[in-house]
Symmetry: C2
Subunit: 108 residues, 2 copies
């Protein structure tokens, strides 16, 4: 089991996922790449707002994007979820280390 994760990044990830609109955007990206305009339509907010959310999502590696011509293509980035999984595993370890129960329960 890989228990490595960067706590600072985990913080940012929890903050990022704490917002429903960003989870909405992320869900959309998991189904495939999308432009800013597409994401704006999907989330019913302005392109500016999407840009702001994307900046945040990219900072914690939950998404990435590249611009070709005038259109920016946004994609889901699995690296962030890997960090999130690391956080869970780490704390599961902490919990099981003390009480030996979370592992069983999470694995049930």
């Amino acid at each position: 089991m890989n228990l490595h994760f960067e706590p600072a990044r985990a913080d940012a990830i929890f903050f990022a996922l704490g917002d429903a609109t960003r989870r909405n955007i992320l869900s959309r990206l998991m189904r495939g790449p999308a432009s800013i305009t597409e994401l704006a339509d999907h989330a019913a907010i302005t392109k500016t707002a999407v840009g702001q959310h994307m900046a945040l999502l990219q900072d914690c590696a939950l998404a990435k994007s590249e611009k070709r011509g005038r259109v920016r293509t946004c994609r889901f980035d699995p690296a962030g979820l890997r960090t999130l999984q690391g956080w869970i595993d780490y704390h599961r370890e902490e919990w099981t280390g003390r009480l030996g129960r979370l592992g069983e329960i999470l694995d049930d």
Copy 2:
């Protein structure tokens, strides 16, 4: 693999974990039960604030508590993390279903 989770509860969990103070409290509780006063000292906030955080954490099954006499004993509740794990697994499935890559990457 168990892909069941309640989306509404997942929302609440992400919101709850999006706050650093609540993650702090939760970390403390994973090391063992604590009173409101202990948690307040640990997080350097008032007991009232802790009570508010606890209400939130309990709503999404990340913590539980019971009052005996005048002291309320707070405990970590693994049910919430189980839901969080369910969310990850579900979206991993969604992603792998379309592109067949997140599974490998998360499992690396």
